[in-house]
Structure formats: structure tokens, C-alpha cells
């Protein structure tokens, strides 16, 4: 059995609200193995994005432990694995508006300490894999939503992280483009052997994951 690339145990997270603490994660545990895909569904405000942010080290749980595989170092806190151990794809693409598609992808590699030439080479390769070689020199403002999300996917994978965390990656796309992007994402992660944790509203897309969960009332249950 493949080793774990992401482990979370007993995650608790609550927010202050006028009505008292609002618990959005209540003892959530998850173990993701190399190359597998996991989907998490849930209604708006159920804590899906919070879970993803904690898994990726962008937020801290009130209680519980998260560990992410950092190549060469083993399992470590996700905060240390940002960029290299975990890749993110966001609903709103979150590309740097002043950088071209190629530069946006290369930026993630540069931040990870890769030299400019190698970063550019990797960016070109990944843009080719997502079918955007011809649009590499375009600014995000000149790309369609689907193209932006493909650039974001390339950026998330440029450092070859063991885990890709995707937060509603098709939420801003029309049905046809969403289908294209989702197929592309599943295909690329399968090719690279990257594990995927997909947060989505869509039952259809969630069904494509090898393991499926629903987050409701702060509890993560198999779908």
C-alpha cells in the first residue's frame, strides 16, 4: 500500500460569532495516500475551505495535527511544506495580474528556490501539458476563465508536490469549461502521480474521486 502523503487527525476549528463560538470542524481526520484522489462535498459554510486551508498550512487548527509529505524530508507540518509539499488551486484562479501565464507558473518555482532557467523550463513544460503553450506570454487579463484555471493548475504542480489541494476549481466556470478543466486536472494528477484533495459543490465531479467524503456539522463522513 502506498505511503501517506497527507495525514490529519482530530482537527478542530471554530470561529467567534455573535451567537458564540461556531465550530466548523469537529474532530476531522483524513489520510491521503500517494496518487489517490479524495473529494469533499458540503453545503456553503460547512467548513470545506477551512479544512483545505488547514490541510495546506494556510490556517491553524484549534486542536489536532496535520502532516504533509515533503520530498526528501518525510512528513512535516504543512506550514513548512507550502509550495513544495502542497500545491493549491483556488476558485478564483488567484494569478498575479502583472505576470504572464509563463511567469505565473515559473513564479511558484522561483519561490521554491529553483533557478530562473529551470523554472522557465518547467513552466513551459507544464503549460504544454495543460494545452496553453501558445498563450504562455499572455497576461491573465487576456485569458479566458478556463485558461486562467489551467494556468493555476500548472502553477500548483510546477514544484511537483505530492498533494494538490483544489478549492472549488470549477466554481467560476461554465459547465463545458468546468468539465474540460476537471478532466484535465484529473488527467494531469494521474500522470504525475500527485494525490488530489478536491473540495467541490458538484456531486458529478466529486463522484470521479477514488474516495468521497461529505463535510456536515463539522464532521467528515464517507459519502
Amino acid at each position: 500500500m502506498p505511503d501517506s502523503v497527507l495525514r490529519a487527525a482530530g482537527l478542530v476549528r471554530s470561529y467567534a460569532s455573535p451567537a458564540g463560538p461556531l465550530c466548523v470542524l469537529n474532530g476531522v481526520s483524513l489520510d491521503v495516500r500517494a496518487g489517490e484522489s479524495v473529494s469533499v462535498r458540503g453545503s456553503s459554510g460547512s467548513g470545506k475551505t477551512t479544512l483545505l486551508q488547514i490541510l495546506g498550512g494556510l490556517d491553524q487548527p484549534d486542536a489536532g495535527v496535520v502532516e504533509v509529505l515533503l520530498p526528501g524530508l518525510g512528513l512535516c507540518p504543512p506550514r513548512l511544506a507550502l509550495g513544495r509539499g502542497v500545491g493549491f488551486v483556488f476558485q478564483n484562479y488567484q494569478l498575479m495580474p502583472e505576470l504572464t501565464a509563463q511567469e505565473n507558473v515559473a513564479l511558484a518555482a522561483r519561490i521554491a528556490g529553483i533557478d530562473a532557467a529551470e523554472a522557465a523550463r518547467r513552466a513551459g513544460e507544464l503549460l504544454g501539458q495543460v494545452g496553453l503553450s501558445a498563450r504562455a506570454d499572455h497576461l491573465p487579463s487576456k485569458l479566458s476563465g478556463g485558461e486562467c484555471q489551467r494556468v493555476a493548475l500548472a502553477r500548483a504542480l510546477v514544484n511537483r508536490p505530492p498533494v494538490l489541494l483544489a478549492d472549488e476549481p470549477t466554481g467560476n466556470l461554465d459547465e463545458r469549461t468546468a468539465e474540460e478543466v476537471m478532466s484535465l486536472m484529473l488527467g494531469v494528477v494521474a500522470t504525475l502521480g500527485t494525490a488530489l484533495v478536491l473540495v467541490t459543490h458538484s456531486r458529478e465531479f466529486a463522484e470521479r474521486a477514488s474516495r468521497r467524503y461529505v463535510l456536515s456539522g463539522g464532521v467528515l463522513s464517507p459519502a
Binding site: 486551508q53 509550495g83 483556488f90 488567484q94 498575479m96 505576470l99 504572464t100 519561490i111 521554491a112
Partner: protein, 406 residues
């Protein structure tokens, strides 16, 4: 190039946009602040230098006087001239006289000098004629005085000294001496140009009946800046004489100029400070607008220091480019200063204030590298700080919060 510098440059000068408004306005603000500071400082330096030069050239690097006219001045000049710190020593005498050319007359400040002294500063300011032709029958006049008398080189003027009136027979007007104008001097200081008449000391002696004495000696030193210590040393050896270094001749005046320059520096620095605050405010807005991008960069693995650098570098780059542009603007303004001042004077009908009030023929200036270094240092520090504080705030936020708030 580090990625954060690349990103900072792209955010400042976005590609595909013709006019980077934020960067342009911020850089212009800094450039105007720096230029205001340096123009004022350089002109103030110019006034200070011109005043110092005028004092030195009018009074010498060191003036030797006594409570009575100095006996055997040539002998004293030889003795003092032999001192290793002294370049030349030259006796002088001075007094007012009435000068006339036909229907035009003026009161001149006549100065008896040694025309053979090669260190006489007036030599450098001869506009017409020859300084070396000054002799018992020839006089060098300041340009303003020559204009007032309507004379040129080769014309003759009549001169009456107070001593001539004393010597005249009772009830009879004294006869003037006739002198040919051999040189016209233009120093640029109207106080000198409008009054000066230079004649040989021996001729002055005749006309003022000094009996071979002089009013004082003018010392030119090898190191004018060391005048105070040289004066102290010479004074200790000759208690009967007063040695006055040029720095003490108009001490209060020079102190006032220095104080004025310091005050203007602080006043003008406020302009740069205001520009920096406006950059800080604009960068703060930019940081808030880019909060989500900051969160994304953190998600990509950017460290806190690198996030701070992105925005701090933008402030620093604005400061750097603005400072260089300010240097260029300073040079441009100062190069065309007379034209600019002339236009301002015409606009407000003030006339030639530089000549009328400050007695200079043009706006003086003196570039001082230390002023430029100080202005650059303070500007870079303030603009970097203007970018630094919003950057620290942004980098200190949780990435999840940053992405949620935007």
C-alpha cells in the same frame, strides 16, 4: 534577479499599460520634494559662498589694522609676507571722494592699493582695459560707477578728496586731480561695482596726505580656510596690531546665512516627508487591494521577509528613481535659474531682486556633494519606510484571512 524584485518591478510598472499612474505620481512627488530641497540648498550655498568670497576679496583673507594709521607699511608687508602661511601682504588705504565727469558726479569709495601685487583680486574682474596700467594718472573704476559717470576706458574723470579741501586756500575751491580711466571692473557685487575706484597707494597717500602711512594691510593666505589660526599666531607675536581673519569680519552675517540654510533644510525636508507619507498611504491602499495576492504568495511558499520585501522594494524603488529624477530636475532648474527667476519677476513685477537686494549680478549657486548625499539618504530612508510599514502589516496576516478579506 530575485523573484520578489521582479514582482515588485512588475507591480510598479505593469506591462501592457501605457501609463503606470501610481508609480509616475509617486516618483514625481519624490522628485519634486528632492528638487525643492536641493535647489534651495544649492542656492543657499551659492549665497554663502559668494558672500564669503566677497568678504575675502574685499577685506583679504586676513586684515591687519591698528588703532592709528600704520607707519612704514611696506616694511611690515615685507615682514608679514615672509611668513610661511602668507602668500602676499599688501598695504592699503581707503576713503571717500567726489568723482565727476562733466555734468555727472558720484561719491566713490577710493582704495589705494599696490597694483603690482599679482594677488590683487580685482585683476580677475577686469571687464574692459588693463589693470596693470593703474598708475599715478590712471584709475580703475567699478562698472556701476563708470556707468553713473558715463565714462569708458580712455575717458577722464576729476576727483576731490577731503584732504584736498583741507589744503585749499581759504575761500577758494580746491582744484581736482584728473585721472584717466584705464580699466573697468565688474565683480558682480553691485556694492563694489557701484563705488570702487582703485588707484596706487602712493597716489592715495598724496591725495589724502597720509605721510607714507597706510590704513591697514591685506594678507592673502596660502590656506584661506586656516585664517583664524594664522591670525591668532601672528597676533601673538605683534600685540600692537589687530589681525582679523575673514571669518570674523562679518561673523554674524555668516552665522545668519548658515542658520538660514539649516532652517530651510528642515522646512524643505518636510516636503519630502509629505511625499513619503503620500507614498505610504498609496502603498497601504495597494497592499490592501492586493491582500489576496499576498495570501496566494504565502500559499506558494513565500516567506514573510520576501513578502515584506515586495512592497518595501516598491517604496525604495520609488525613492531611488524619484531621487535621481529630483537630481535631474535640480540641475535643470539651476541651469535655467536666471530665465526662471526673470519670468517670475516679470510675472509679479518684482524687478531684479537679486541685484537690488542681494547685490549679485545673477543667482549664485554652489553644488555641494554632501547636500545631495544627505537628501538622497533621507529620501530613501523615508520612502523605504513608507513601503515597509504596510508591507510588515500585510506579511503579518494569516494567508487564509488575507485571501478571505480581499
Amino acid at each position: 534577479m530575485p523573484w520578489f524584485l521582479h514582482l515588485a518591478l512588475r507591480q510598479l510598472f505593469p506591462p501592457g499599460r501605457r501609463f503606470p499612474a501610481f508609480a509616475t505620481v509617486s516618483i514625481l512627488g519624490v522628485a519634486l520634494g528632492v528638487a525643492s530641497l536641493l535647489v534651495v540648498q544649492t542656492v543657499m550655498n551659492g549665497f554663502g559662498e559668494e558672500h564669503r568670497l566677497r568678504i575675502r576679496e574685499s577685506f583679504g583673507d586676513c586684515v591687519v589694522t591698528a588703532s592709528a594709521p600704520i607707519e612704514r607699511p611696506a616694511e611690515l608687508a615685507r615682514t608679514l609676507g615672509a611668513d610661511p602661511a602668507v602668500r602676499s601682504a599688501s598695504p592699503y588705504a581707503e576713503g571717500p571722494a567726489l568723482v565727476r565727469n562733466g555734468d555727472f558726479s558720484a561719491v566713490a569709495g577710493v582704495r589705494g592699493i599696490d597694483p603690482s601685487d599679482p594677488a590683487q583680486p580685482a585683476r580677475r574682474y577686469v571687464a574692459f582695459g588693463s589693470f596693470d596700467e593703474i598708475d599715478d594718472g590712471r584709475v580703475a573704476l567699478g562698472a556701476g560707477l563708470a556707468r553713473a559717470l558715463r565714462v569708458r576706458v580712455g575717458d577722464k574723470v576729476e576727483l576731490w578728496s577731503p584732504a584736498m579741501a583741507e589744503r585749499a586756500e581759504k575761500g577758494r575751491a580746491p582744484l581736482p586731480v584728473e585721472l584717466e580711466v584705464c580699466a573697468v571692473i565688474r565683480t558682480g557685487f553691485t556694492e563694489v561695482d557701484d563705488r570702487a575706484a582703485l588707484i596706487p597707494l602712493r597716489r592715495f597717500d598724496d591725495l589724502w596726505a597720509l605721510g607714507g602711512r597706510a590704513h591697514g594691510l591685506t594678507l592673502r593666505l596660502k590656506e584661506p580656510a586656516a585664517a583664524e589660526s594664522v591670525a591668532e599666531r601672528l597676533s601673538a607675536a605683534r600685540p600692537g596690531l589687530a589681525f582679523i581673519p575673514w571669518q570674523h569680519v562679518k561673523r554674524n552675517f555668516l552665522e545668519a546665512i548658515r542658520f538660514e540654510k539649516t532652517m530651510l533644510f528642515f522646512l524643505m525636508f518636510i516636503i519630502t516627508l509629505v511625499a513619503s507619507f503620500s507614498i505610504g498611504s498609496t502603498l497601504f491602499s495597494a497592499v490592501i487591494r492586493r491582500a489576496r495576492e499576498v495570501g496566494v504568495l504565502a500559499a506558494l511558499g513565500a516567506g514573510r521577509a520576501e513578502l515584506v520585501l515586495i512592497f518595501a522594494l516598491q517604496g525604495l524603488l520609488i525613492g531611488l528613481i524619484g531621487t535621481l529624477a529630483g537630481f535631474g530636475l535640480t540641475w535643470t532648474i539651476l541651469t535655467f535659474r536666471d530665465g526662471i527667476l526673470g519670468a517670475v519677476n516679470r510675472l509679479f513685477g518684482d524687478g531684479d531682486m537679486v541685484a537690488n537686494v542681494y547685490q549679485f549680478s545673477r543667482v549664485p549657486l554652489h553644488y555641494d556633494a554632501s547636500d545631495f548625499l544627505v537628501a538622497a539618504f533621507f529620501t530613501l530612508v523615508t520612502t523605504a519606510a513608507a513601503g515597509l510599514f504596510p508591507a510588515i502589516w500585510a506579511a503579518g496576516r494569516k494567508p487564509s484571512e488575507a485571501m478571505r478579506d480581499a
